[in-house]
Amino acid sequence: MSKENRRKERIDRGIKVRSDGLYALLSWREMAYLIAPRFILIAGLLALPLLMPGLYWQRVISIVCIYAMVAISFDFLAHYVGLVCLGGAFFIGVGGYIAGIFNAYFGMPPLVTIPLAAIAGGGFCTLLLLPCLPLRGVYFAIVTLMYPLFMARIIEAFDLFGGTDGILGIDSFSSAFVEQYFVVGILLVFLFGLRRLVNTDMGLIFTAIMDNDQAVRASGINITHYKALAVFIASAMGCLAGACLTHIYMWSGISQFALDFSILPIAATVIGGAGTLAGPVIGCLILVPISELLRDFGTLRIVFYASILVAFILFRSDGIMAFAKRKYEQIERWTQV
């Protein structure tokens, strides 16, 4: 067949159609088809720390999970609420500092400081972001990009909390095993919790605010209230990630407000698939280890890194998740026109 008179057609797999709706419950095969992707993700994440050779790569997995928490909070805010927030580093930094302060100055154990950092940090970030909530689109993005820089400069200028040295002498997790499974567990809870949330009626309000905020206001719903709630959820997740990071490195400092924590989660979301929640996790699983592998190349790694990103945006702009979903649900074949 020549190229002109044939085309590719995509057809839903039989099992995909059969497992739509309630009938899937009647057969193990269909059930397995539905459960398999979730199972692979959960089992894979739980097995990863065991499969890693040596402490160094196990630590990398913890960092992957930290980034992934920030990435899904970005994905949730940007693609389910319509607030493109470039302030991931703001959340990480605030959470990190709160955990550090309560641990180093008040002697609280990590299992207390981490939830505390999530709640208090979420509240703090939401309060600071409250004036920006009426902004939309690129305006909100630019303002939120300023927050981490702002915080870092304040800490530096007033020499707060150890100034440029940061807070030293913070407790670590009791063991490497606890550390890894703590962050993996939290990540899974966040991932499946958010998926639940976006499918409830409240998630519908969030989507509606993204689609058309004026109509939501005309429906008698206070959009500032719901936007603040969404920002609180996302920033609490980011702050919790930051608190974990502080306890992993046993240090919190200005570099937690570094732009990396804002940029890498967004890149991971682009690569993994925007608006899928699981996609950003996969994106982080790819990007963070690559960044570690490329460490040997020195500053050249930025070039490799950027090329990978550009290639993804050019050739797989809808992300890995959309591609994988298509392969999982449909068969492709060439047909005669």
Partner: protein
């Protein structure tokens, strides 16, 4: 004329309301009373301040001067969601559905609002049941065929007629006391308009006070009890459709030199 408007105190009152946009007077010193149970039409050429009036009442803009009262309470400058919560709902001239959602989920959102939870939604008796069922009930009443796929289709695939009805349905879900329709006939075919007119009449029979902003005069005069004419942000005339039609100033401002009967025929 189904309602005698002069007996009861006004439900909605605008007193001396003005709005300027950087020196341009979109509304200047407009007084308006809306009585319970009536259908009030607001007409006027393009740019005469009709939509500005609606925005001022529903809180989407803050008037530069004057006061607005709803059932005796001052609502000037309140937030849109507060005003909707009191029972003043509006449709948008440029339709604002949630395009990415299925049609019936467009109604789950207003049904989630505090007012709908309090009132039980359209036809509800104080207790809100399953939101999806109520949403589909409202859609059926407003002209979506219940047993078709239409309520479940993605909103962006629906034709204009359904989108206009969806705007109305969103308002009804809140169990409104005043319904403000901003050009709901525009962009519809003749048959769609013909089916919309009885719907408006039915809503009036249900006790909803309706304010209609229209360019389609023939249909408006069928349903309206009273008509106000705006021109350059000022109130020109107010009265029954017959009085308005007979007024020379209206002919001059709105219809140019044409005879009004001709305009009515082709409008």
């Amino acid at each position: 004329m189904r309602h005698n408007s002069n007996q009861t105190p006004p439900m909605l009152r605008m007193e001396n309301v003005s709005k300027t946009f950087g020196g341009v007077a979109a509304l200047s010193h407009v007084d308006l009373d809306v009585h319970e149970g009536e259908v009030l039409g607001i007409i006027g050429p393009n740019g005469s301040g009709k939509t500005t009036t609606v925005n001022a009442i529903t809180g989407f803009i803050r008037p530069s001067g004057g006061r607005i009262y709803f059932k005796g309470k001052d609502i000037t400058g309140k937030k849109p969601h507060k005003i909707a919560d009191m029972g003043i709902t509006r449709t948008f001239q440029i339709m604002r559905p949630y395009y990415s959602l299925p049609a019936f989920k467009n109604l789950v959102i207003p049904l989630f609002s505090p007012r709908a939870r309090r009132t039980g939604g359209w036809r509800g008796g104080g207790n809100l049941g399953d939101r999806k069922t109520i949403a589909i009930d409202i859609l059926e009443e407003i002209g979506f065929e219940r047993d078709s796929y239409i309520p479940f289709k993605t909103t962006s695939t629906l034709p204009t007629g359904y989108l206009k009805r969806l705007e109305l349905a969103r308002c009804l879900a809140l169990k409104p006391e005043i319904l403000i329709c901003d050009e709901i006939f525009s962009g519809l075919s003749m048959s769609e308009i013909a089916s919309m007119v009885p719907l408006i009449e039915r809503l009036q029979d249900d006790g909803i006070t309706i304010v209609m902003i229209e360019h389609r005069l023939r249909e408006l005069f069928q349903v309206a009890n009273r008509v106000m004419v705006l021109n350059f942000g000022e109130k020109l005339v107010e009265g029954t459709p017959e009085e308005v039609m007979a007024d020379d100033r209206v002919k001059e401002a709105y219809f140019g030199s044409e005879k009004i009967e001709e305009v009515m025929t082709y409008a």
